[in-house]
Amino acid sequence: MSMRSGLLASVALCTGMFGIVGTAEAGTVEFWSPFTGPDGTAIDALVRQFNETTGAENDVSVELLIIPWEQYYTKLSVSLASRTAPDLAVMHSHQIAGFVKQGALEAYTPEEIEQAGLVEAEYIAPLWQAGEVEGQRYGVPIDAFPRHIYYNKALFEQAGLDPDAPPKTGEEMLDAARAIAGLGQDIHGAFLPVTGSGATRNFYALFWQYQDDLYNADNTDVAEGFAESATKALENLKVFLDEGLAPAEEVSDSNSLFAQNKIGISLMQITDLPVYQTAAADQGLEFGVAPIPQFGDQPATFALGHNFIIPRGTPPEPRQDAMVFVKWIGDNSLAWTETGKMPAKVTTLESPEFQALPEQQIVAQSLEYVRFPPPVSVQPAIDRVVQETVEAYFAGQVDVGQAVSMMADGIRGELAKQ
C-alpha cells in the first residue's frame, strides 16, 4: 500500500468512525443525567422500561449517560460549546436562568408542549413555574426536593416527648432539642448543616417564613425588609449552635450519627430518605419525617427540582422523540418518588400508591408553600455568596449584623453582573 492510499484509507476509517459516533440512529435520544447511587439505578431502570414499552411502540430509544453531578455542569457546558451536547438533559431549577442567559437552552414551544400532551394543570404549580424564565418555558419538571425534618422516635421517647408529635414551630423544635440534648451521652438535640449547600438552603427556608421575596421587583437589589428577615432567619438557626444543642462544627456523616441515635432532629431534605430507610431496615432506626417547623410568620420551605431541558442545537427529530420520553416520565414517576423525591404531577401526588408512601406523603404537605430560588441568571453565584456568609456567621467569624450586611452587599454585587 502506497503512502497516499494508506492515508486515504485512514481518513476513510476515521470518517466512518465519526459517522458511527457522531450521528445517532433514527429515533435515538441521547439523554444526560447527573443521578448516581439509588437515583442512578432508578433512572436507569425507568429508561429501560421506557425503551421496552412506550419507546418501542413509538420507535424511540433513549440512551442514558450518567455524569456525576460534581462534573455535570462543567461537562454539559463544554459539550454545548463544542456543539456535542445531548438531545435532552436534566438541570436543577436554579441553574436554568443562567444557561438561558447564555443562549444554551431551547425554549419549549406551546405547540410542542400541547402536542406531547403536557398539561400545565396536571403539574404542581410551583414546580411548573420553576421551569419558566421571562415568560418562556425552558424546563419541564421531573420532581422537587424540599427541606423538612427527620426526627428520631427512639430519642423522643427517651426524652419524654411524644414520638408521634413532631415539632410544628421553631419554639417546639428548640424545646424538643433541649430535652433530647439533656439525655447526655454525646447526643445532639438537633443537626443543622453549618457548611455547604445545606446551610444555605436552611437559611433560605427560614428567610421565606418571614417574607416572600429575596430581591426587589426588577432584581437589582435585595428586597425591602431583607435585613430584618435575614437577621431573624440566621439567629433562629444559630441559637441551636450557641446553646450546644447542635454540632457547631462540620460533621462528616450526620446521617450515620442519626442512625446511631446520636441526633434527635435533623433539618435536611427528602433526598436523604433512602439512607434513613436503609438504616431503619438494617439497624432498627426508628425515625419520622415532618414538614419544616414554622419559625416565622408564615409556612414556607426551600426546594429545588430537577427539570428536563433541551440543549441548544438539538435537531427537530430527536427533540420530538425526547418529548415522548418527557411525557412518559411524568406519567410514570412513582418509582422515582420512592428514591426520595416529590412528584411533579398532581396525578401522581394524588394516586393511592403515592399516598401509601408514608414519608413522602407527609413531606408532600409542604408543596402547598414550597419556594424555589428566583429565576435570575446569577442565582448560583448568589447561593455561593449566601453560603460563605452563613458559614462565617455559624463559625463565629462575624456577628449577625456583619453577616447580613455582607450578604446584602454580595447579592447586590452579583445582581449587578446579570
Binding site: 442567559k101 447564555q102 462544627e249 462540620e250 448560583p380 463559625a395 454585587g413 453582573k417
Partner: protein, 287 residues
C-alpha cells in the same frame, strides 16, 4: 552554501521550540487578552466591552479578597519553600554513603500528580476520620480542624504545595552548591569558623543567583496555585482559600463569564511578570 547552511541551522534548531511556544504560550496569552475585551459566553463573544471586564473586577469585593488570599498564600509559601529547600539542599550536599537515596527520596514528590497529592493530604487532614485525627485521638488529644478554619486551611494548602515542590527546588540548589569551590570551606575551616557561619558567609552569598531563581519560581507557583485548592477546600471555608485562579475557575466554568475569567488570567500574568521583573531588576545587582 556552507555559510548559508550555518545561517539557517540555528533557526531550524530553534524552530520546534518557537513553534511550541507560539502554539502553547503566545497564542493562549494573546487569545486571553483578546477574550478579556469581550462579553464572552459559552458560545463565544456576545459583545465588545473594552476594559469593562477589568473595571468590573476592580469594583468586585470577591476579586480583591482573592488578591488578598493569593498574596497571603505567597507570604506563607515562598519563605517556607526557600528556607526548607535551602536547608535540605545543604544537608544533601555531602559526600556520604547512600546520599543519593535521600536525594531521590526528596525528589520523588515532584513526579506525583498534584491531584493525587491533594487527595492524599485531604485524607490525612479530614476532620474526625483522617489519619492525623486518628493519631491525635490515639494519644487522647482533640481532633484538628485544619481544613475548616480560615488561616489553617491556607496553611494546609501551603504544606501540600511545599511537599510537592521542594524536591525540584532542592535539585536546582544542589546544582548551585556543586559550583561553590571546596577551597572556600577549607579556608574557612583553617580560620576556625563553625559550619553555621559557612552557611551564612559562604553558601548563601554564593548561591544568591540560584536563590533568586528559586524565589521567582516559587512566587510564580504561588500565584498559579489551583489544583490543591480546587481539590482540598474548593475555596472554603467561607472563601478564605479562594485564590485568584479559583475565582477564575468560578467565573469561567461555573458562571460562564469567560471574558471576566480571561481578565483575571491577564491580571495574574501581569502580577507574576511584574514581581519577576522587580526581583530580577533590583536583586540582580546585589547578586
Amino acid at each position: 552554501m556552507a555559510r548559508q547552511r550555518a545561517k539557517v541551522l540555528p533557526y531550524l534548531m530553534a524552530g520546534p521550540y518557537i513553534l511550541m511556544f507560539a502554539i502553547f504560550a503566545a497564542y493562549p496569552v494573546g487569545r486571553a487578552i483578546y477574550m478579556s475585551l469581550f462579553d464572552w459566553g459559552i458560545f463565544g463573544p456576545n459583545a465588545f466591552v473594552g476594559v469593562a471586564n477589568y473595571l468590573s473586577l476592580f469594583g468586585d469585593r470577591r476579586f480583591w479578597s482573592s488578591v488578598g488570599v493569593t498574596t497571603a498564600f505567597a507570604a506563607i509559601y515562598v519563605p517556607m519553600i526557600v528556607v526548607a529547600s535551602l536547608l535540605i539542599a545543604v544537608l544533601l550536599h555531602r559526600r556520604l554513603p547512600g546520599i543519593t537515596i535521600f536525594r531521590t527520596a526528596f525528589f520523588i514528590p515532584i513526579v506525583i500528580n498534584v491531584a493525587v497529592a491533594a487527595i492524599a493530604f485531604n485524607w490525612l487532614l479530614a476532620p474526625d476520620v483522617g489519619f492525623v485525627d486518628q493519631v491525635l485521638r490515639f494519644f487522647g488529644l482533640p481532633g484538628q480542624r485544619m481544613l475548616s478554619q480560615p488561616g489553617w486551611a491556607l496553611f494546609a494548602i501551603a504544606i501540600v504545595a511545599l511537599w510537592t515542590q521542594t524536591g525540584f527546588m532542592v535539585v536546582i540548589l544542589l546544582a548551585g552548591l556543586e559550583n561553590i569551590p571546596d577551597d572556600l570551606y577549607e579556608a574557612a575551616r583553617l580560620d576556625g569558623t563553625r559550619p553555621f557561619y559557612d552557611l551564612i558567609y559562604i553558601t548563601i552569598p554564593l548561591l544568591r543567583p540560584i536563590l533568586l531563581i528559586v524565589m521567582v519560581l516559587s512566587i510564580v507557583h504561588a500565584f498559579q496555585i489551583f489544583g490543591e485548592v480546587f481539590i482540598i477546600t474548593q475555596g472554603g471555608p467561607y472563601g478564605s482559600t479562594t485564590v485568584m485562579t479559583m475565582l477564575l475557575y468560578e467565573e469561567g466554568f461555573e458562571r460562564f463569564a469567560l471574558g471576566r475569567a480571561a481578565a483575571i488570567g491577564v491580571v495574574i500574568t501581569i502580577i507574576i511578570a511584574s514581581l519577576s521583573f522587580i526581583q530580577f531588576r533590583f536583586f540582580r545587582r546585589q547578586v
